[in-house]
Each structure stands twice: as C-alpha cells, then as structure tokens.
C-alpha cells in the first residue's frame, strides 16, 4: 500500500530503487551515485550473497550427511535437484568437464532462490528496513541488471575460454570468420554475423532473466497499489509467478549448459 503523501509514481519508483553506496569526494555517500561506476548496490549484493550462502550451507549440510541408505525428506529433495541438473547436463553436454555440472547446479538453485524473493509481499522487507532507517531496499537480486549481467558475463568468459581451450585460438578465429560463408571475401561479413551471435548470448541470457523478474516485480508493485482489492490479484499473479521463477532459473541453467556444450563441440 502506498504510504500517505506519496503518489503512485513515487511509490513505484521507490520500490525500484536500489540501496546504493559510493564514494564521492572522500566520503561514503548513500543513494546519490547516479552515473558513478564505483558504486555498490548493497541490497542486491547482500541478498544474493546471503541466498548463495543459504544454497551452499543447505547443500553442503546434506552432502556431508548424505547416506546411500534411505534418504530423509530434505536429502531426497536435494538429491532430486542434483539428479535433475545432472541429467540435464548429461543429456546436453557430451564433453568431459568437472565444472559444467556444479556450475549448472549453482546457477539453477541460486537463481531460483533469488527469484523466490519475488514472492515475498513487496512491502514487507522494505517496510521493515524503513523502520530501522534504511531508505531503499530491493529484495529481488535478479531484478538488478548488475546481478544478471555478472552471471551472464561469467558464462560468456567460460564460453570464450572453452572455445579457445578446445579448438585453439586458430579454431576459434576460424569459427568466427569462416562461417557461415567459407570464402575469404566473406570474412568481414562472417565476423560481424558471428560476433553478434556470440555477443548476443550473454546479453540475451542476462536480459531474459532480468526482464522477466523485473516485469514480475513491477506487476506485484502495481497490484500492491490496489489496496484491499489486491488480495485475489496478488494470489493469482503469485501462483503464476511460481511457474515463472522456476522456469527462468531452469532456462538460465539450460542455456548455460547449451552454450558451453556448443563451445566444446563446435560446428
């Protein structure tokens, strides 16, 4: 619900504002960092790291106690997740890599947890934070383009790394220049084409996740503006959103696997 004295526009803008800290003129400044690269979105970092630690702690705990006997409920859930990711990796990726599967698992569960924050009613955490003097709080890290870009760029670096590692620099260069038209005259054209397709991978990967979650969050905020009438709408959108958050986490993981398997196999 919009606070008294605030317009709907201000309410929405407030909810979409990160808690940012940066250094200006030798002093730490909060939320006056527009256009300043040397700033940190404290809320995004906080929630993403906390959720990542939740993921690691949970899975590590189960991994340590994992028995080959009859698993408990928690172990069964964790093993199902691991088994699901393992199967997805095996079906798509045929190379030999110790990194891909743990990477896919981390991305899947981490992104899922970050998306899951979207289901917390939009005013709870920011409202609580306001009470203790924190002016802005964006609780869904995946609605911060920095977060999704960071993950997508890491995947991009891995794509380039594996492309070069498997095919060599020459092979990778050939892939970029001699396709789709294998003729020396077409090299610039090919380079533009392949370059765009290569660069499109991390951008689409990050913007897809960001866009879906940002839009979902925005709709939650709009629903929250409706006052008492929000309840049925909030419920319906939340149920629908459960699908979205799992699906987006899965797509992010799956595309990562596909991109890396393409980097391994070549054309």
């Amino acid at each position: 619900m919009a606070a008294e004295g605030h317009s709907a526009g201000e309410y929405i803008a407030h909810h979409l504002q990160n808690l940012t800290v940066c250094r200006v003129d030798g002093q730490w400044v909060w939320n006056e960092c527009h256009g300043n690269f040397y700033a940190i979105n404290v809320d995004s970092m906080f929630f993403s790291v906390v959720l990542g630690l939740v993921f690691l702690t949970l899975f590590r705990m189960v991994a340590v106690r994992a028995t080959r006997g009859v698993p408990g409920r928690l172990q069964a859930v964790i093993e199902m997740t691991v088994g699901f990711v393992d199967q997805s990796v095996r079906e798509t990726f045929h190379g030999d890599s110790k990194l891909i599967a743990p990477l896919a698992l981390t991305l899947f569960v981490w992104v899922f947890f970050m998306n899951l924050m979207d289901l917390i009613p939009v005013d709870w955490l920011p409202g609580t934070a306001a009470l203790i003097g924190v002016p802005y709080l964006k609780v869904v890290p995946t609605t911060d383009v920095n977060i999704t870009f960071a993950m997508a760029l890491s995947v991009f670096v891995l794509i380039v790394f594996y492309s070069i590692k498997i095919k060599g620099i020459g092979g990778f260069a050939k892939e970029l220049t001699l396709q789709p038209f294998n003729h020396w005259a077409a090299i610039p054209f090919n380079l533009v084409l392949e370059g765009v397709s290569l660069l499109a991978k991390p951008i689409s990967l990050s913007l897809r996740l960001f866009g879906n979650l940002y839009a979902g969050e925005l709709i939650f905020i709009l629903i929250a503006l409706m006052g008492l009438w929000q309840l049925p709408f909030h419920f319906i959108w939340a149920v629908f959103h459960i699908l979205i958050i799992v699906l987006q986490a899965f797509i992010f993981m799956m595309l990562t696997i596909v991109y890396l398997s393409l980097a391994h196999e070549g054309h």
Partner: protein
C-alpha cells in the same frame, strides 16, 4: 538500473560459490546418489534372483511331492496284494487243517467200530459156546472148536448186520 561495481562483486561471489559447489557439494552428492543407485540395482537383482530360486524350489518340492505320492500308492498296492495273499494262504491252511481233522475223526470212527465189532464177536462167540454147551449138556471145548465158533459168530453178526 545503473551498471556499477555490483557486477564485479557478484562475479566474485559467483566464482566463489561455483568453486565451493564444485569442490564440496557436487562430488559427495553424486557419489551418494550413484552408490544408492547401485545399491538399489543390486537389491532389485537380488530380489529377482530370490524369486527365481523360490520358483525353482517350488518346482522341486512339487516334484518330490509327486514322487512321494507315487511311492505311497505303490506301497499301498503292494500291501493290499500281500494282505490278499496272506488271507488266501490262511484260507488254504484252514481248509487243509479242517480236512486233516475230518480225516482223523473218520479213521478214529472206523477203528472204534472195528474194535466194537471184534468185542461183539467175542461176546457172541462165548454166548454161542455157552448156548451150545447147554444144548449138548456138556462143556464145549472152546479151543477145540474155535474155528467153528468163530465162523458161527461171524455168521450171526452178518445176519444181525443185515437186519440192523
């Protein structure tokens, strides 16, 4: 919406998390899952083997049971035959014993009648002598006329025999 240092921070966090997952989560989880998979597979195999063995044992038991039944029938047959034989033998023995007894009794009777006849003959002879003595008025010398007397006695007996 600005791109800022958060992107670096998140990248570092991601590298650390993925590394931790690769080192400390993925291997034990996969190992546990694979161990359980093989345990379940061997369990299923053992179950199937047990079922097969059970079926085989059932077949064996059925066979043994059938053999036992056959043997029992044979034994009963033999016993019945044997008992028939025994009964027949006993019947034979009883019949021959009976015949023997009958024969013995018959010969006894014959002997008895012969003795009675000779006794009677002597008595008749002495009676005849006594009668003749009285008729003749004197003592008849039984010894001197033994042959005659015997003949007479036999005749009388024969007569008596014819009438009686």
């Amino acid at each position: 919406m600005d791109i800022n240092l958060t992107i670096i921070g998140q990248t570092i966090a991601m590298i650390v998390f993925v590394w931790f997952c690769m080192k400390f989560i993925w291997p034990p989880m996969i190992q546990a899952i694979e161990e359980r998979q093989s345990a379940i597979a061997s369990g299923i195999a053992a179950g199937e083997k047990g079922q097969r063995e059970l079926a085989e044992a059932r077949d064996g038991a059925e066979k043994i049971l059938q053999e036992a039944r056959q043997k029992a029938t044979q034994i009963v047959d033999v016993a019945q035959r044997r008992s028939g034989e025994i009964v027949a033998e006993a019947k034979d023995v009883a019949v021959s014993e009976g015949e023997r007894l009958v024969a013995a009794a018959r010969s006894e009777a014959v002997n008895e009648s012969a003795r009675a006849r000779s006794l009677l003959q002597q008595e008749v002879a002495s009676l005849a002598i006594a009668g003749a003595g009285q008729l003749l008025g004197r003592e008849v010398d039984a010894k001197a006329h033994a042959a005659l007397l015997d003949q007479l006695a036999a005749e009388i007996l024969n007569q008596a025999g014819k009438r009686g």
